[in-house]
């Protein structure tokens, strides 16, 4: 097996083990997501027509906020106990290492949201088809949030008030993902083809995969100075 693949698997496994031994963190993100989504009907009223229309936007914005919440932890634990120093000194590609952390972050904080979506979709009376497309768009979109967010997390490492600042930096950059993600669901509800939305999301995912690990690695080196 290739050395870089081995490194990638090592990091993903390590972070997943750590997350399993600190399960509370994972659960808080998920509960936050469910709670934010459930608050909307209380805020705007229970008319099913309106809720059905709002559902993709509400779920997407809630997913965006939930992933911002969990991004603060992406590097901070490793930064505080010195592991990040050792990672920067690893004689192997830092970009691959960062990619490993992004993947595990998504598996812990993005994937549960995707899996939770059907239940929340039913709360908003979405059609089965719309729920399917919503899950697909979240499946393609949430990894981008983790990857773009990682840049922000690396830049705000160790800063006071880093959490709020992180959202300020990252949220504008995530707008295209939000637009294409919700657009796909609205398209399917309107009886239109979803392929253009989803392929644009896919293109963004490929772009993010190609560039964000390297950019995040540079950001980490800047922040560790």
């Amino acid at each position: 097996m290739n050395k870089l693949t081995q490194l990638l698997i090592l990091i993903v496994r390590r972070d997943l083990v750590l997350a399993m031994r600190r399960r509370a963190d994972v659960l808080t993100t998920l509960i936050f997501f469910v709670m934010v989504v459930s608050l909307f009907p209380l805020g705007v009223g229970p008319e099913m027509d309106m809720l059905r229309k709002m559902a993709p936007g509400v779920l997407w914005v809630a997913a965006l906020l939930a992933s911002m919440l969990s991004l603060g932890r992406l590097f901070s634990a490793d930064y505080l106990d010195g592991t990040l120093e050792q990672m920067l000194l690893a004689p192997q590609s830092l970009s691959v290492l960062v990619l490993g952390k992004m993947i595990s972050h998504w598996m812990v904080s993005g994937l549960p949201l995707v899996l939770m979506t059907p239940v929340l979709g039913l709360q908003f009376d979405m059609s089965v088809q719309a729920i399917g497309v919503l899950m697909l768009s979240l499946l393609l979109g949430t990894p981008i949030l983790s990857m773009v967010g990682a840049i922000g997390a690396a830049l705000t490492l160790g800063l006071r008030g880093g959490g709020v600042l992180l959202s300020l930096l990252v949220l504008p950059l995530c707008i295209p993902v939000l637009i294409f993600g919700t657009g796909a669901v609205q398209a399917v509800s309107g009886g239109l083809s979803v392929s253009s939305h989803l392929s644009l999301l896919g293109a963004l995912l490929v772009l993010a995969l190609a560039f964000t690990p390297w950019v995040t690695a540079q950001a980490l080196r800047i922040s560790m100075e």
């Binding site: 090592l10 083990v17 505080l80 010195g82 592991t83 000194l89 004689p91 192997q92 100075e225």
Partner: protein, 204 residues
């Protein structure tokens, strides 16, 4: 061989040191001395490449380390104030992962041997959070045993260690030096390595 020429470094507005030049050859050990805040840690972190120096170059066997990148990292190991130990992982897991990160293939049996030599017999599989400060430091220092780096950069390696562990570290350093390794370190406690000439550099 590690060569430093005309190095200058500052933190914020404050110039820590400038015009610093020295060379470290295989089998040599050097202690960085200076009062608190004189820039000892900053110097070591500059040598690791974390801090970009204001002026001057650091070269390894004639090549600038900034151009070597990961190749340089393969030749050195750094042990800072922080132990880089995860509370949730056992001592063994911690050692195996940090070895894998630094590109060393380490078998579990060898890792256990290393931890035992560091005096952690019977605690290999305990989560690091139940270990004491000194024991956690020992887990971090066990990386020295399994590393094949030429250059050791140690920032206060003796902090939180008892007399027995200090003797062990001295023994490890002596072994490393006889194998043509190099050590550069800071300490506030006396560290004697038998039969080796200790060079020292004062920052003021």
């Amino acid at each position: 061989m590690l060569e430093i020429s005309n190095l200058a470094c500052s933190r914020g507005d404050h110039r820590l040191f400038s015009g610093l030049s020295f060379a470290l050859h295989p089998g040599q050990i050097m202690q960085i001395q200076g009062a608190n805040g004189s820039g000892k840690t900053s110097l070591l972190r500059t040598l690791c490449g974390f801090i970009i120096p204001d002026e001057g170059t650091i070269s390894w066997c004639g090549e600038n380390v900034r151009d070597m990148g990961e190749e340089y990292f393969a030749r050195m190991m750094y042990l800072g104030h922080l132990n880089a130990i995860k509370d949730e992982l056992s001592a063994l897991e911690n050692l195996l992962i940090s070895a894998a990160l630094s590109g060393v293939e380490l078998k579990e049996a060898d890792a256990i041997l290393a931890l035992r030599r560091m005096g952690l017999k019977g605690r290999e599989r305990l989560p690091a959070k139940v270990l004491s400060q000194g024991q956690q430091r020992r887990v971090a220092l066990a990386r020295l045993l399994v590393s094949n780096a030429k250059l050791w950069i140690l920032d206060e390696p003796l902090a939180a260690l008892d007399v027995k562990a200090v003797a062990l570290i001295q023994e490890l350093i002596a072994e490393h030096l006889t194998q043509q390794g190099m050590v550069i370190f800071t300490t506030h406690q006396p560290l004697d390595v038998a039969g080796m000439e200790m060079r020292s550099l004062s920052l003021s």
